[in-house]
Amino acid sequence: MINGVGRYIPDNLNSFVSSDDFLNKKRSLIAKKEKQSKTVFLDNLSEVFNIIGISSGMTLSFHHHLRNGDKVIQLVSEEIKKRDLKNIHLAPSSIFPGYTNLVDLIKNGNITDIHTNYLNGPVAKVISNGHLIGKLIMNTHGGRARAIESGDLPIDVAFLSCPVVDKNGNGHGATGKSACGTLGYAISDLEYAKKVVLVTDTVVDELEEYQFDGKYVDYVLVIDSIGDRTGIVSGTTEVTKDPIGLKIAKDCANLLQYLGLIKNGFSMQTGAGKTSLAVVKFIEDIMKRKNIKGYFSSGGITKSYVSMLEQNLFDKLYDVQCFDLEAVTSFAKNKNHIAMSASKYGNPFEENPICNDLDFVILGATEIDLDFNVNVTTDSLGFLIGGSGGHADIAYGADVTIIISPLIKSRIPIIKSKVMTVTTPGSDIDILVTERGIAINPKRQDLCQKLKDSQFPILKIEELLDLSHKITGVPKDIIPDDRIIGYVEYRDGTYLDCLRKVKDEYQR
C-alpha cells in the first residue's frame, strides 16, 4: 500500500499515516524487569555467554555512547564468531565505522537482523550491498525507546558499556578512565531487557549518583578497557570556515532573529556539523548583543553549548549523549548539565518529552524533496550513510524545524522531486535555508506571512530546484534494486519507507 508520505509499504506491515497519528493511540508498556538475585561480577565474556545461555536467534542490544571508540560491541562480536552463533538479531542504538567485526558476522549469517538508529562505514556498506539476510530496521532515538518499552523490540541481553560501576551494580558515565558522559540511549535497554550486563573497566565501592540503577543489573563484566573515549569525538567539533557554510549559518541565524525566535527563555537544538556549529556561534553573538538568555538547549551536546551554559546564556542543557570530551567534563561537574534518557528526549508516548518543548531546531539533510520530506539515511545512489538519530523526533516536536544545506553538494542538487529515502516526513519540516535562497513549507502560512516583507531571498522550493538544475543540469534518475533490505520506521512504530539494495552497477 501507499503510506502517508506516498511510499510503498508491503500490505502486511504497519504503514505510516501522519506524524501526529500516534495521538490516537495509547502508550503500550511491558513490565520493567524485576531482578530476583544479587548482581554477579565476572571477568570473562565467555563465562557471561555460558551463564546466560546466549544462543542463536537471540536479540542482543548495545548503546553507542563511546561512539567510534566503543570496544564492547567488537568484543561481543568476537565471541559470537567464536561460538558461530546464527540468526542473531542485533539492536545497537548506532553503528559506527569502527565496528568492523560485524562485517563478517553479517556476511556469514551470524547476524541476520539489525535494529538501529544510525549506521555508517563498512557495516552500512555490506548491508547496502545486500549481505544482510534478514531485515534492517532504522528507527529514531525516541522510537527505539518506544519499541523497547512496548515490547515491539524485545531484548534478550543488553550489553551496556559503563565507565564506572559500584559494588552494588550501579553505573555512571561521568567518571572512570573511559568516561563518556551521559548514558541516555541505554536506559530503556537497562529497564526492559531480559538480562542486563554492564561492561566496565572501573569498579568503585559506592557511587553516590548513578544513571544505571543496580536493581536492573544482572551481571557486571569487568575488562581492561571498554573503549577509547577520544573516539567520542568522531563527529565535527569546529565551526566551519567554508564561506558557503558560513553564509548559510549567518542567514539562518538572522532568519531566527527576524522571526523573533531568539528571545528570553527560548529553547533550541542543532546537529553537530560544522555549519550547525556556525549557526550556534552566530546565535551566541546575537544573544550577547541583545542580552538574551535562553532556557535550554538539548540533544547531543558539544563544547559550544557547554561554553554557552558556562557563560550563563542558557539555564540548562538536556543531554542524551556527549559529543566531545568538554561535554563529558561539563556533565560531570555542572548540575545544570542534565542527563536525559532517549525516552524523555523523544519517545512520542512520553508524557512531556523534551523534544516537544523546543522552540526551534536546526538540522541537516542529504536530500529534501518538493514535499519537504528529508532523507538523512541514504545517499543519492541508495547507500546507507546515516539515519534519523533524533532527526524525526525533534522535527516533530519543535515549533519551527529548519533544514540547512548547500543547494549543491559535490555537484549534486540536494533538492529532488522525490527523495531516495524518507527519514523525516515533510509535514514536520518548515524551512529550508540554502546559500541561494530560503524556502518555506507552504503549510506554514504563519511563517510565510511573517517573512513576506523581509529582505530574505524567499523562493518556492520548486524555484530552488530549478536554480540548482541550471547549475548542475538535471541529474539522471537512480532506480534502486527491487529487493527490500529493510525499512525506515517512524517514531510511532509505523513504516515510513523501504530500504532497498543498491543496484549492482552502483556497488562499490
Partner: protein
C-alpha cells in the same frame, strides 16, 4: 560602481560554482598570480567552460589575465569571446602596457566583432605609479587598482599591517582616479584570519578616499562591504538634505540641522544616495 571585488582562482571548481553566491560587487576570475605555470591552461579552460555554461553569473565578471607580452596573454584574451566578461584587470599596468593593451583590444574586437572591452589598471610597480597621469585618461579605463604586494616587492620594502609604506601610492591613485572619474580600488588585506586588522585597514584606506577594496577570501566581504558602503546615518542625512533641496531648488544655500548646506554638500548627498541605491541600501 564597486565596494568589494573578490578574487577567485580560475582553477578552483567549487569556488567557480559558487561565484554568484558571494555578496560582492564583482568577481575577479584570476588566471595570473594565483595560478601556477603548470595550471594556466587548465584554469583558463575551467573559467571558459564556467562562463559559457553557467546561467547563474555574478553581478560583474572581471578577468585578471596574465601580463601583456607573456606567453599566456593571447589565449587569456580569447575568453572575451564568451561575451560574459564585463572588464579585464591588466597586471603590471603602466603607460606602455595600457597603450599596448588598448591597441591589442581594438584589433581583437574588430576581428571578433565584439563590443569595446573596459579595463581596470592594476598598478603594482613604481613605474606604473609614476606614469598614472599618462594613461589614466584612456577611455577603456574604469578603475585604478593598487597592487600593494607587488609594489612593495618592486620597492624592495616590507609590507606592514599599518601600510605606511604604500601611503604615497594609495594617495596618488586616489587623486588621479578622482580627477579622471575612475574608481580607486585598494589592495587586498592579506591576513585572512584577522578581521580586526582588515577593518582597520578598510577604515584607513576609505578615509583617504579609496572607494573599493579587493578581497582574497569571501569571509572578508562583509567587513569590506560594510565600511565602503554609506552608513545608515549618512543615507538618512543625504535623503533629508536632498529632500530639502528639492523642495526649493532655486535657493543656492540653506541651513540644515544648524549647518550651512551649499552645492558641494548637496552633490555629496546625491552621490551617497546614488551609491546607496546601487548597493540596494535604500
Amino acid at each position: 560602481m564597486f565596494r568589494s571585488l573578490l578574487f577567485i582562482p580560475g582553477n578552483n571548481p567549487s569556488m567557480l560554482q559558487n561565484a554568484d553566491v558571494f555578496e560582492t560587487d564583482a568577481i575577479i576570475f584570476d588566471l595570473e598570480d594565483a595560478i601556477s605555470i603548470n595550471e594556466k591552461a587548465n584554469a583558463r579552460n575551467l573559467v571558459r567552460n564556467y562562463l559559457k555554461n553557467s546561467s547563474v553569473l555574478p553581478k560583474q565578471v572581471i578577468l585578471r589575465v596574465n601580463c601583456y607580452g607573456s606567453e599566456w596573454f593571447d589565449n587569456d584574451i580569447e575568453l572575451l569571446k564568451t561575451k560574459k566578461i564585463n572588464c579585464l584587470l591588466i597586471p603590471k599596468s603602466d603607460k606602455d602596457v595600457i597603450s599596448a593593451v588598448f591597441d591589442y583590444l581594438v584589433e581583437f574586437e574588430k576581428t571578433n566583432q565584439l563590443d569595446e572591452t573596459k579595463i581596470i589598471a592594476l598598478i603594482e610597480t613604481a613605474k606604473g605609479i609614476n606614469e598614472i597621469q599618462e594613461f589614466a585618461q584612456n577611455k577603456r579605463l574604469i578603475g585604478l587598482f593598487l597592487g600593494g604586494e607587488d609594489l612593495a616587492s618592486d620597492l624592495e620594502i616590507k609590507r606592514t599591517e599599518q601600510g605606511n609604506e604604500i601611503s604615497y601610492a594609495r594617495s596618488r591613485i586616489i587623486y588621479v582616479a578622482v580627477q579622471h572619474r575612475l574608481i580607486p580600488i585598494d589592495t587586498p588585506y592579506t591576513n585572512i584570519n584577522n578581521p580586526d586588522g582588515l577593518s582597520a585597514d578598510c577604515i584607513y584606506s576609505s578615509s583617504l578616499g579609496m572607494k573599493a577594496k579587493a578581497c582574497i577570501h569571501p569571509n572578508q566581504l562583509e567587513v569590506v562591504n560594510s565600511i565602503f558602503s554609506p552608513s545608515v546615518e549618512e543615507i538618512e542625512w543625504a535623503k533629508a538634505v536632498v529632500k530639502k533641496f528639492e523642495e526649493n531648488p532655486n535657493v543656492g544655500a540653506f541651513q540644515f540641522q544648524g549647518k550651512m548646506v551649499d552645492k558641494p554638500i548637496i552633490n555629496r548627498a546625491q552621490k551617497i544616495l546614488i551609491k546607496a541605491k546601487n548597493f540596494n541600501l535604500l
